[in-house]
């Protein structure tokens, strides 16, 4: 994985600056810039050698509950990009852990969530594959900043977003996806794909998805087709008069 380029780091810093109220004192603004530069450098270093670089003790002063989670053996094949994007998807539509040491999924509910619904498949299906690493990097840079600004200690063995607990992940995504947040487009686009994956299995023909027992379609109760693969509902109506028409309407039209 390549080091995060300077323009990307500067962009994040500019974005953070833009979130400060205009009245913020210059000294405070500069302090925040220094902090964010450190965050960006840390994120860049982490991308060179994920898992092996700890949060500098000077920056890890928080009292957050992240603890010292170890990389589970069953996640050892998962790359940090996938883990990060799965954690992102799981924060949007949570699901249950796939295996006991699943670190990407927080496991706050029973049943499937966006990860089981194929969020990563959906991202790849629409051609985002080559950019996913950069997107994960951007999310993790934001996660580091969030951790620092909220006094949360990150687990050096996990991608920063994955290191956050579910409430913290949610807090971060609330910020990233706020309706007027700068740069929201990227995050909301990713979120849209997670919803499309879970709710529609948009990377599969719907008949195939139903046949395969797609977890999301099953969870929302999407009905199966007839035996010929087409949907028809012969029973569709209460067949009752259920309201009076408007007195001035005629043939179903307003006056």
């Amino acid at each position: 994985m390549r080091v995060k380029n300077k323009s990307e780091i500067d962009r994040i810093i500019r974005r953070e600056d833009s979130r400060l109220p205009p009245s913020t004192e210059k000294s405070l603004r500069l302090t925040r810039r220094k902090l964010l530069k450190s965050v960006a450098a840390l994120a860049a270093a982490w991308t060179i050698s994920p898992w092996k670089i700890g949060v500098p003790s000077a920056l890890a002063q928080g009292t957050g509950p992240a603890g010292t989670t170890q990389i589970p053996a069953s996640d050892s094949d998962a790359d940090p990009t996938t883990l990060t994007l799965e954690a992102y998807a799981d924060t949007l539509i949570p699901g249950e852990k796939r295996f006991p040491d699943d670190v990407a999924i927080a496991g706050v509910v029973t049943g499937p969530g966006a990860v089981q619904g194929g969020a990563i498949d959906m991202m790849n299906f629409v051609g985002l594959g080559p950019t996913l690493a950069l997107l994960a990097l951007q999310i993790n840079a934001a996660a580091i900043a969030y951790a620092l600004l909220n006094g949360i200690t990150l687990d050096p063995n996990l991608p920063p977003l994955v290191s956050l607990n579910f409430a913290q992940r949610t807090g971060l995504l609330v910020e990233l996806l706020a309706l007027n947040a700068p740069g929201r487009g990227v995050y909301s686009g990713l979120a849209a794909l997670c919803f499309v994956a879970f709710n529609t299995a948009g990377y599969l023909d719907t008949v195939v998805a139903i046949e395969q027992g797609h977890p999301g379609l099953t969870a929302i109760g999407f009905p199966p087709p007839n035996s010929d693969g087409k949907w028809r509902f012969p029973d569709f109506s209460y067949q009752q008069v259920l309201a009076k028409p408007h007195p001035r309407s005629k043939n179903g039209n307003p006056a």
Partner: protein
């Protein structure tokens, strides 16, 4: 090489293009119709939500503050619409909006348009639903209205009820030939009289013709059917009459791009766009309350759980369309199906509102949902920015585009939204029948009915077209699509767009000789296939 020539060049094949195309071809004119999208027939449609299927012929265009859904194929939005076919209330034609004077041309009233509405209803044809034709969701909305003291009735639909299977897949076309799009009436009618339809031809610009006897030259790009961002060639056709019917999202962009070559455009081109006051919200029903409060049961032990069953639009209430109420306080409430591709939209009470644990819980209750579209009176606040280099917008991916439209919600529009939200919530949540959920995942308007981006009127300062649909200052260019409709309608607009196109066709037949096109008047509506 000399340009190709024709009597009439029509840009677009939706309601606004197909109808004049039929009448002018039937009258004997040589008609060429250019459509930017592909041509699909029944066997090409699928019942699938896979990305890359339905979004070959439907676009979601994001502007600033607004997301618009529009068709992109031969037949235009008639292929993807939900077929609700209603006449607009009489008071709509008297609207004054924020101008303080009548917006619609004096020549057009509900009464004067009724003749044209009747013709369209016969040509499409439009069916009146009995209560036996109303699916569970429509019945539930009606029962909820009734219990709250309101009237509610079935919506006239452009559907062949003998073929409809109530599959709820109208948004991906119709695989049963039940939905009456332009593919079944005006388009085959036009072709039977020799009109030529060329799909995947995206018009870019109109400029003066060079050939004697022809007034305008229309240039186009041939679009790659496998990648709509690529062109395979280009060409120009000269015509005596040009009809611009590229849709509300396309028509003003073509005209803006043509302004320099044609010596300017009326100031109302690309301004005063209306989102038809569209406002979408959702209800999630308590199945026990559906049974105990409304007495409904669709099978033993199941009261509703039928969101995905039926036709997408079935019932609505006209109780809030009181002509005596002040403008911006009148609206219709209509029951609606929304495919799960938009399930991100509804919000829940607690942060993070549109995602997280509570939202997941709402998703798991999807079969007990109902969507509601509130159609209000907006303030025509949409404005198009400068046109892109080519096309109507910038394509970002399959069916996803970024447009130049900006829609800052005016206080008057917001007032209507607030009233409509309150009315819908009061009906649907009475005694805990359902929970009510407004859109929380975006602050953009969700618009399926864009209108008025090149509107008619009597005032040259605030209307781009005269009352005959002719573009001011450019004789021989007519606009006959949703862009010409002056205001929001408080009902689904397709029937009004079609009725206005019928009326415009009659005018065109009478005036074609002025532009060197000989036609005999043909008053016969097409025979539905």
């Amino acid at each position: 090489m000399a340009n190709e020539t024709t009597d009439v060049l029509i840009i677009g094949t939706g309601f606004g293009g197909s109808i004049p195309g039929y009448y002018l071809a039937a009258g004997g004119a040589k008609v060429i119709m250019l459509e930017r999208g592909p041509r699909f027939s029944t066997e090409d449609f699928t019942q699938s939500l896979r990305v890359g299927t339905f979004n070959r012929f439907i676009d979601s265009i994001s502007g600033k503050g607004i997301d618009v859904t529009a068709g992109n194929c031969v037949g235009g939005s008639s292929v993807t619409y939900y077929a609700a076919s209603l006449r607009a209330p009489s008071f709509i034609f008297e609207r004054r909006g924020t101008l303080g004077r009548r917006i619609w041309p004096k020549a057009i009233t509900r009464s004067s348009l009724n003749h044209w509405y009747s013709r369209v209803e016969a040509a499409i044809p439009v069916a009146e639903l009995s209560w036996n034709d109303v699916p569970y969701a429509g019945g539930l909305f009606a029962a909820a209205c009734n219990r709250a003291g309101h009237t509610c009735q079935p919506v006239p639909l452009a559907v062949d009820l003998t073929k409809c299977t109530n599959c709820n897949w109208m948004h991906t076309g119709c695989v049963f030939d039940a939905k009456r799009s332009m593919l079944f009436n005006y388009i085959p009618g036009a072709e039977s009289f020799g009109a030529e339809i060329r799909p995947l031809h995206e018009v870019q610009k109109i400029q003066p013709a060079q050939t004697a006897g022809y007034r305008y030259a229309v240039s186009y790009l041939e679009i790659d059917p496998n990648d709509y961002t690529q062109s395979l060639g280009s060409g120009t056709i000269e015509a005596k009459i040009v009809i611009v019917a590229a849709g509300t999202m396309g028509t003003p962009v073509i005209l803006q791009r043509s302004a320099l070559a044609l010596g300017g455009m009326p100031p109302a081109v690309g301004r005063y766009m209306s989102a038809n006051g569209d406002r979408v919200s959702f209800a999630a029903f308590d199945e026990d309350k559906v049974s105990s409060l409304l007495g409904l049961q669709r099978s033993p032990g199941v009261a509703y759980e039928a969101f995905p069953i039926g036709k997408p639009i079935n019932t609505m209430t006209f109780d809030y369309l009181d002509p005596k109420k002040p403008e911006f306080s009148r609206f219709a409430l209509q029951q609606l199906y929304s495919p799960p591709i938009v399930n991100a939209l509804p919000g829940v009470d607690q942060s993070p509102f549109w995602f997280g644990i509570d939202k997941r819980g709402l998703l798991l209750n999807w079969r007990s949902w109902m969507a509601i579209v509130e159609m209000t009176e907006d303030a025509n606040e949409g404005v198009f920015g400068p046109p892109p280099k080519t096309g109507s917008f910038t394509r970002l991916g399959p069916g996803i585009a970024s447009g130049q439209l900006e829609y800052p919600i005016a206080p008057q529009t917001q007032h209507g939204f607030d009233l409509a939200d309150a009315a819908a919530e009061s009906i649907l949540t009475l005694d805990g029948l359902a929970t009510f959920h407004t859109v929380a995942s975006t602050n953009s308007i969700q618009c399926a009915h864009p209108l008025a981006s090149c509107r008619m009127g009597d005032n040259p300062g605030t209307s781009a077209l005269d009352d005959r649909h002719e573009l001011r200052g450019h004789p021989g260019i007519f606009v006959t699509d949703g862009a010409s409709v002056p205001t929001s309608l408080c009902v689904n607009p397709s029937l009004t767009i079609a009725a206005l196109a019928e009326r415009a066709s009659s005018i065109l037949l009478k005036r074609a000789n002025q532009y060197g096109v000989t036609v005999k008047h043909s008053g016969t509506i097409p025979v539905p296939s």
